[in-house]
Symmetry: C2
Subunit: 499 residues, 2 copies
């Protein structure tokens, strides 16, 4: 795009922002290292460094000169889209930093450290009462957070917007209202279709980890994972982190059984990494050099994981690698592998859920969060509501807290308002798949068969990635997919695939 | 030691310093990652982050409130040793930061980036004239640096003190005057002793790298490398870096031949790591939580590498591992291995030099640096002086620049005044060995035979490590070894060992 920042106020803002960017960059590396290579006891001083760097970043963000430059820029009428983006993103961050008192941040950090321990113990002992007081405190603090941030209709709006700029409780409700009944009907039909197995031999097949590492690397190479700008390592929970736009780190894990788990983690994280690696170079080191929201980020990871990765054409590639590295599995046909990778069954654990049941899990959490933040229910009501909703949605009921209300780490970390972005991303991923096929005039399966993944990446770059955070999520989709976020594509995708 | 900071001014200084410490911590991790795992293109944005973090650190160091607190603390008479140490270290840093203009730092950074490239090309083409103008510029900037820093007798004093607090050109001259003639005489005798081979079969023996990795890990475990606070990785040039006192990272390299190189790199770096890992916990996050100087640091690495590592008792351990992992070498006796590890021969390359010839290499660089900074010679004179001095010291003469004046990276990095700390560290390492044997009433060889390395580490912790930067180098040695730095121990050590 060449040089995109011309206004002198914006240039001055970006120069000052580079210090904040650098601290952010460093904190990213601290986090990556903590999850991958850090010796255990290093955590003590790592936390101290982290805390001080956060405070420094906060101070730099509220630096009066930066704040007044941003204020000044808001009234300039001749800014181009990128310049407007810089102002929008920084104004949002400064406003948040101003509204939320440091004491609340500190209190939340304090309680979440202890809440995490309590959550672990609570799970181990299958005793919700251990975690309950912490969750109560967290909900209380999140309500205060919502009050500080402000909202028009529902306090939960403030929390959603924190993760997904411009989205509201109503938006999320509308989204679930349009997909839940459809998902139910598709799921019912698939459950009576014997082609989709409820369990599969390969789920319990024990694999040699060194071979799985090679398979992941082969697949990443096929996808065009740029090794001079990216790497894959191992961590307990798979994640992606980018330092700038020329250094992306993804991780996966190797459980030693059910090999699709490690493969599809890697493909998922590849999607996250590719997003930020394809941001335009002219945005490097600016507030725009990031994924614009959790939902858009998740749309990219789930696009590669599901829309591409679980496509028959892609599972053929996976299957050929599995047969090559594990000759004892040579009798598994492409179809066997496809149905192994696309097993469908109502299950209790969100992270193990298939494409058809996944959103029920997320919708359940949204329902509960909204009622908690809206004072409609108490924390003590949550386990029963969880179990009843699970039965209503998927016809199954957790037998213990670990497979029910205590399964996710999010609440113990104080993340309330985050879950809906998982569904949003999933829905957008199908809309992206539709738009690609329409634009390129080809079926995704054919592109995958030809292994021309560069064509897909090029499209994603042109339509979404290169802009970074230039446009707010809704505007990004509207401008580039020529339509608002529309769950119908997701439903058609599932119908086409499963029925 | 318990809580050692009681004065409220000092406590306030330390609180403010924690931000500087955190930036330093992060920059350490950035550097470690750059040398180990960073994807190649990451360097572009890594440099930007680094530059901004350096500027932030510089600003925080010159923050008027911190500066005035340190000024205030200088006049408090009731400070304990640790509190005085905090004032001494920070006063030194602030003074340097004040004296050296940012423009000089920037110019030096600028020229060294280009100088490095020129140095590489100059080596490749065996053409000193390519590097010459850069070295001229660097020498000019270093002279200006010396003028800014100030000195009493010789401008080179200012540069030495930069790396080795309290040391002067005279100190270094005195050191070399007392060791060079002795070293010459020992070397002459050893060269006519057929037990010390000039080359050894194992130098060209090609090893399997995965086995060498295991040997290094076995050795580190025997030495008590604390895996919950430390790790070893691979990099092009071996180095050690500590983040705080609970996370040390060492590296080594695997050339695939002459296995002692990788093993003794690992043992050398183990010495560096152990120093900072054994700093007292009460100093964590303060200006004292670091090795006090390059010389003291090098004394620790060379103590483990040479005084312990090249001791017959230790080479027996190395030998047993070599025979275990490479059964085809099972006929090499403990004596064979000892003489392999202790090969002596005049050679042209410093980093490959043995214990007897090493200091000639460093003395040569010191001589040249002193004359350059003192305006006694020009850069164009350096290659001839280098070659003549090499002939005078070791009786050999480089045939090209790569094995002569262009062999070290240091000058291209603007490091002038650094080399003498290598000799200083080597000398102190023998003095430490002497003090341990005297204090514990045991021979080092016996302690090594019993594999009770904890006893050695405990002694080092008590006498040197735990203090971090509390005492300036000379005072640290005087207080804890009950004597000034004394090269006689080094000479006796060599005589005992080689004659």
């Amino acid at each position: 795009m060449g040089e995109v920042f011309e206004n002198s106020v914006i240039k001055e803002i970006i120069n000052r922002y580079k210090f904040i960017w650098s601290i952010d960059y460093a904190m990213g590396l601290l986090e990556w290292d903590m999850e991958t290579y850090m010796p255990k006891e290093g955590i003590i001083e790592r936390s101290i460094a982290n805390r001080h760097l956060s405070v420094l970043e906060h101070r730099l963000l509220l630096d009066p000169e930066l704040v007044s430059l941003v204020e000044k820029a808001k009234s300039i009428e001749t800014l181009n889209d990128y310049e407007k983006g810089v102002v929008r993103v920084l104004d949002r961050e400064i406003t948040k930093a101003k509204k939320i008192p440091e004491s609340l941040i500190a209190e939340l950090r304090e309680v979440t450290i202890r809440a995490h321990e309590a959550w672990v113990t609570s799970r181990e002992k299958n005793d919700f009462s251990i975690f309950k007081p912490y969750l109560e405190k967290i909900v209380e603090l999140e309500k205060r957070m919502a009050d500080y941030l402000g909202y028009v209709e529902h306090p939960y709006d403030a929390l959603i917007d924190y993760y997904e700029e411009g989205w509201t409780t109503k938006d999320v409700e509308r989204m679930y209202d349009s997909i839940i009944p459809e998902l139910k009907s598709i799921l019912e039909k698939v459950m009576s279709d014997s082609r989709y197995p409820k369990c599969h031999y390969l789920e319990s097949y024990k694999y040699d980890i060194t071979k799985a590492v090679e398979i992941n690397n082969r697949l990443l190479d096929i996808l065009g994972f740029p090794r001079t700008r990216a790497r894959i390592d191992v961590s307990e929970h798979p994640f992606t982190i980018n330092f700038g736009i020329r250094d992306a780190r993804i991780t996966t894990r190797y459980e030693g059984y059910d090999i699709k788990r490690t493969i599809y983690s890697a493909v998922h994280e590849f999607g996250h990494a590719t997003y930020e690696l394809q941001i335009d170079e002219s945005l490097s080191g600016t507030p725009l050099a990031r994924g614009v929201s959790m939902g858009i980020h998740e749309s990219q990871s789930r696009f590669w994981e599901n829309v591409v990765g679980r496509n028959f054409a892609f599972t053929k590639i996976v299957g050929s690698l599995i047969r090559e590295y594990f000759p004892e599995l040579k009798n598994f046909s492409d179809e066997d592998i496809y149905y192994y990778i696309n097993t469908v069954k109502p299950s209790l654990i969100r992270v193990d859920a298939d494409e058809l049941t996944y959103n029920f899990h997320v919708a359940l959490r949204f329902r509960i969060e909204k009622m908690l933040i809206g004072n409609e229910i108490k924390v003590s009501d949550v386990p029963d509501i969880w179990n009843n909703t699970m039965e209503e949605y998927l016809g199954i009921r957790p037998k213990d807290y670990k497979s029910g209300v205590l399964q996710d780490i999010h609440w113990s970390q104080g993340s309330i308002g985050y879950f809906p972005t998982y569904s949003l991303g999933t829905i957008i991923s199908a809309q992206v798949g539709y738009a690609i096929e329409k634009d390129l005039g080809k079926k995704l399966g054919d592109i995958i068969d030809s292994r021309n993944f560069a064509e897909i990446k090029e499209w994603l770059k042109r339509k979404i990635h290169r802009f970074g955070a230039t446009y707010a999520p809704k505007e990004l989709i509207r401008r580039n997919l020529n339509e608002d976020v529309n769950p119908e594509y997701y439903i058609s995708y599932l119908k086409n695939k499963y029925l």
